[in-house]
Subunit: 243 residues, 2 copies
């Protein structure tokens, strides 16, 4: 593994197909306790920054937090914010009510995975803060110049045998994060991405049926071709219902 960064290195050969990657990459929240090599980080970030943005302005920046002095302080801040936000969500979405009280139910399992994720957020192998440098006043569509790059980032991790997830868990810590990391006021901290080598088994991608998400010619008119391929795994939308 070349760590010097002094000489340019080609991208590795692909082992996953493009359409396969797009349709089977899922959120990874449990990681092996091992660092992500700098070569891999370079490849993941290179793929992220090839994404499109409005007028190709590339207002996206990626702030990588591993083991530096400021990174360690930022990680603790994000961890605290995550635990507070998750505790509120457990209450609001009723994770400990209804089937959430039954061990092994999808709901209680999701709650367990999320609790373990926020409990150890400081120690995930890599945290990346995707940031948007604003050159004009905020507008609802400004995310079109940062989130395509975030998706490229997560897909590139998958391509290289890694995995991750994007959350908004930095939200409560934003003022402190700006101070610790020198992030200017005109920059939107667009999320918190965690990355690492997946640990244990992970289920399939679960999504709503295609006919609920795709319309043709008019709103809510599903075309007859909007039919999922065989083997699609379904879910209801969003967090658990409040039983």
């Amino acid at each position: 593994m070349g760590e010097s960064g002094d000489e340019a290195r080609d991208l590795p050969e692909d082992t996953v197909g493009l359409l396969a990657g797009l349709t089977t990459t899922r959120a990874i929240r449990r990681y092996r306790d091992e660092p992500v090599p700098q070569d891999v980080l370079r490849d993941i970030l290179f793929a992220a920054t090839r994404a499109p943005s409005g007028s190709n302005r590339q207002p996206f920046r990626f702030l990588v937090l591993t083991d530096g002095q400021h990174a360690l302080r930022a990680r603790r801040l994000i961890g605290d914010s995550a635990r507070t936000l998750w505790a509120a969500k457990v209450e609001h979405d009723g994770y400990h009510r209804g089937s959430g009280t039954t061990a092994g139910s999808p709901k209680s399992r999701m709650a367990e995975v999320m609790q373990a994720y926020v409990d150890h957020l400081e120690s995930v192998p890599v945290i990346v803060l995707p940031c948007l440098v604003r050159y004009r006043s905020p507008r609802p569509t400004e995310g079109g110049s940062i989130y395509p790059a975030c998706q490229n980032l997560l897909l590139a991790a998958r391509a290289l045998g890694y995995g991750g997830v994007m959350t908004g868990f930095q939200r409560l810590a934003e003022p402190e994060l700006r101070q610790v990391l020198d992030i200017p006021d005109n920059v939107l901290i667009a999320g918190t991405i965690t990355l690492g080598k997946p640990a244990g088994g992970h289920g399939p991608v679960r999504r709503r049926p295609l006919g609920e998400l795709v319309f043709a010619d008019r709103w809510e008119h599903a075309p007859d071709w909007a039919v999922d391929p065989p083997g699609a795994a379904y879910t209801a939308a969003g967090p658990p219902s409040k039983e």
Copy 2:
């Protein structure tokens, strides 16, 4: 080609690798004059809807405009909006000044491609309006639940031999589009994606050097591993400078 949509059909085999697709997919604005088969549309939209979203709520919807009665009206509205917006950009960004007056310069070539694109926007093979159904008041990070799916959509087009680009060219026509297409007020029209079979030659992806876009430990501190692979094609950021 099965057009019935009555039976589930598997996804096709991949011919492009995941990392290769992420790093070489570029905006396609010139299309052959041929429709996109419904099988291909199904595959592209299936890949789009597998993208992640906040709490897996999947608030994204994709409104496909081909040759239906409402689609044709909407296409004309978007075309008019695009031409007005592009004319303003030509003036604002000085596309007809400086090197823009020299035939064959990058600036005048970009202006030609864009003018032809907006002049014939009504007749691109497919327009897709990516939409975000809001369940709470707008926030700057809400695009995190729609633009990853838009990027999946564009990458899936590439995987299947097609191409496209996302713009904000619907902006001036939004009130009329809501009427014609029955789009509710709580829905954000997040962009306009055009799709088709690429026509003619298309250049490489051009982006800023990695070291300008990736920081580690602190804002504006580029890590020494942020080095582009060999063969990366560079550009300055954004639209032409106002010479």
